[in-house]
């Protein structure tokens, strides 16, 4: 089009653009921009990773692709489990790509660094993958929400249940870094409060592939329970070695403190049957979760982990808040999100507390025996529900600066 010859057309176009812009005045740059940051290629890839991005994109599509006329734009990056890479990516997204929400957020170390950047720049993040309970305790910020689970209910669920069933002497295999130490401390507290005893522990380097030596030490300790205060490949390797050395045949029981669906799927039921674990969600919990999981399965080809389901749930809740508030201003959206209770296929009795913790019902589950399992992904049996208000660290014990006590 030759602009010099059609002044009227240009004027009309400009006016209509201006009208459209004023209608979306509250949504910055006319778009809701979501950046997905996660480990896309390393140890934590399968619990979040590309499958989490698929869940996020499902949520955006189900929402209709736009909020109050403003299109939703999704982009992603691999943090490679490096706090540096994660923090720099978030900084770049804020400076150059006008990101409105940072989603995903898996490794605890990356999350603590990234949320600091969000706080300095007034952004908003929803943490779905990370475990450390410190993310909404000493590291809490007004700029992030922690969605799926954390180390507090993991200890509170699994360890407590096991001690109550009579497993009162524990040997702990702990990953030798911040997450493992935190989990070890939480577990020790729960075991001792419930009348049990920690008879020994080993802090193994992260990551470790050969656990045979540590399993031998656990066998020699005489403890009735061998607790695994580690995650991902370390847990898989430890359970595999325990099976080879006949740990459970000799009368000891394993307790996995952070076990994901993909870990159990990878190891198979022969090695994992009977394992107790705490989870924030399981695909086969009820009709709503089954229905969503089946849609996810049709899209991705694997059943979703609790992290991937949580990414869908949290993205949906975020988009609903943006729609209700008609703005993507981080502080307003976060306040709107906290006002609405969360009841969907993922969360029961969910609400966002002032420290940013989304508390919801958690579940004590047991890995099925090969005989009881009816399919490739029929892996857990839910034993009991841990009510939302009991599962997480009470605010009376909180060190978060946002909590008035």
């Amino acid at each position: 089009m030759n602009l010099h010859k059609k002044p009227l057309t240009v004027a009309v176009a400009l006016v209509s653009l201006a009208v459209m812009a004023s209608a979306q005045a509250e949504i910055s740059d006319g778009e809701v921009r979501i950046g997905y940051l996660a480990d896309m290629s390393g140890t934590y890839r399968d619990l979040g990773g590309p499958g989490g991005l698929a869940a996020l994109e499902m949520a955006v599509a189900d929402f209709g692709g736009s909020v109050n006329g403003a299109p939703i734009v999704v982009f992603s990056a691999d943090d490679r489990n490096s706090a540096d890479v994660g923090a720099n990516t978030v900084r770049e997204w804020i400076d150059q790509r006008n990101v409105d929400l940072v989603a995903g957020l898996v490794a605890s170390s990356v999350v603590i660094a990234a949320t600091r950047v969000l706080e300095e720049n007034g952004g908003l993040g929803i943490v779905s993958g990370a475990a450390a309970s410190s993310i909404t305790n000493e590291h809490c910020t007004p700029n992030h929400i922690h969605w799926v689970y954390d180390t507090y209910p993991l200890a509170n669920g699994t360890a407590k249940a096991i001690v109550e069933q009579g497993g009162d002497s524990w040997f702990l295999l702990t990953a030798d870094y911040a997450f493992g130490h935190a989990l070890e401390a939480d577990v020790t507290k729960v075991v001792e409060e419930n009348g049990g005893e920690i008879v020994g522990s080993v802090r193994h380097p992260f990551p470790t592939s050969d656990f045979s030596s540590y399993i031998l030490q656990a066998q020699g300790s005489g403890a009735s329970i061998v607790g695994l205060a580690n995650a991902g490949a370390d847990t898989v390797n430890a359970i595999t070695a325990a099976s080879q050395f006949g740990l459970t045949q000799s009368g000891q029981q394993l307790a996995g403190l952070l076990v994901f669906l993909n870990d159990v799927h990878a190891m198979g039921l022969d090695d994992t049957q009977g394992l107790l674990l705490t989870t924030g969600w399981y695909w086969d919990m009820d009709e709503a979760s089954r229905e969503w999981a089946q849609r996810y399965f049709d899209e991705v080809g694997r059943m979703p982990t609790m992290v991937q389901a949580g990414i869908y749930s949290s993205t949906m809740h975020y988009l609903q808040a943006v729609e209700a508030a008609d703005t993507d201003d981080p502080a307003t959206v976060r306040a709107t999100m906290a006002e609405a209770p969360i009841e969907d296929f993922f969360a029961r009795n969910g609400r966002i507390r002032e420290d940013g913790r989304m508390v919801h019902d958690m579940y004590l589950a047991q890995v099925k025996t090969p005989e009881a399992s009816t399919g490739e992904w029929d892996l857990y049996e839910i034993l009991s529900t841990i009510p939302a208000e009991e599962a997480y660290r009470p605010l009376t014990e909180s060190q978060c600066k946002l909590v008035n006590r």
Binding site: G42, R45, S213, N237, T240, Q244, G246, D263, G268
Partner: protein, 295 residues
Amino acid sequence: MTTLLGVPIAVFMGQLTLGLVNGAFYALLSLGLAVIFGLLKIVNFAHGAQYMLGAFAALLSMRYFGTNYWAALVLVPLVIGGLGMLLERFLLRRIAHLDHLYGLLLTFGLALIFEGTLVNFFGVSGARYATPEALQGGLNLGFMFLPTYRAWVLVAALGMCLFTWFMIERTRLGAYLRAGTENAALMQAFGVNVPLLVTLTYGFGVGLAAFAGVLAAPLYPVSPTMGSSLLIVVFAVVVIGGMGSILGAIVTGLAMGVIEGLTKVYYPEAANTVIFLVMILVLLLRPAGLFGKEA
């Protein structure tokens, strides 16, 4: 109970045995590296990936063709070794006249490509490879329960190490190889096909890595990243033993397995670092390695 340095003697013996098993494994892997470096002067950074490919080939051939463990133990090293020969013939040979650094970069790049491709298709969680029926169960050694499979790994890895050492140091073919690396032009003049020897040697080194991969498949979850974590340790073993020394790789591999095993009892936090401490000490005191010849 009798104790040794504060640890019950039974526990000590158990850890010693496990250390030997792991050591045999290190020996087998570092042997492949040492053969390739000693005879070809290639720093083979793809060795970890080739080990991983061995484990994957065993897993996939079982899944899709029903190949059993024993067949895989023979066939997989041949197939992956063959792949190695293609790499040597079409890629490594083109840069053979350049500095070592180029070979290192090329093999490192190949390793990343192999790993990345498999991560894309199989993820990182890993898959289980069932222990062959004949090797299930365990042996009661009095001081410990040793899974039969680990005892087999010790025997098979050491057997393969000795076979390799014998081939290179005690046979005519081995003599040709060693002579070819000393003076390729002269060997060529005597009518020996040196380029073919080089290709075969690289293929053999890669085959050793794949053999180790098949041995490892029932022990650890088979995952695309299983080789990269091991590669650094194995390189340290080769440096300690002396780059290119066959006997050095075997003896050092065993020794490092035992040292690492005992560290896991006395100070587990340092288990991942102890081998590198030894490496620093050796480099300071004997820069050519324990069994290396001073240049």
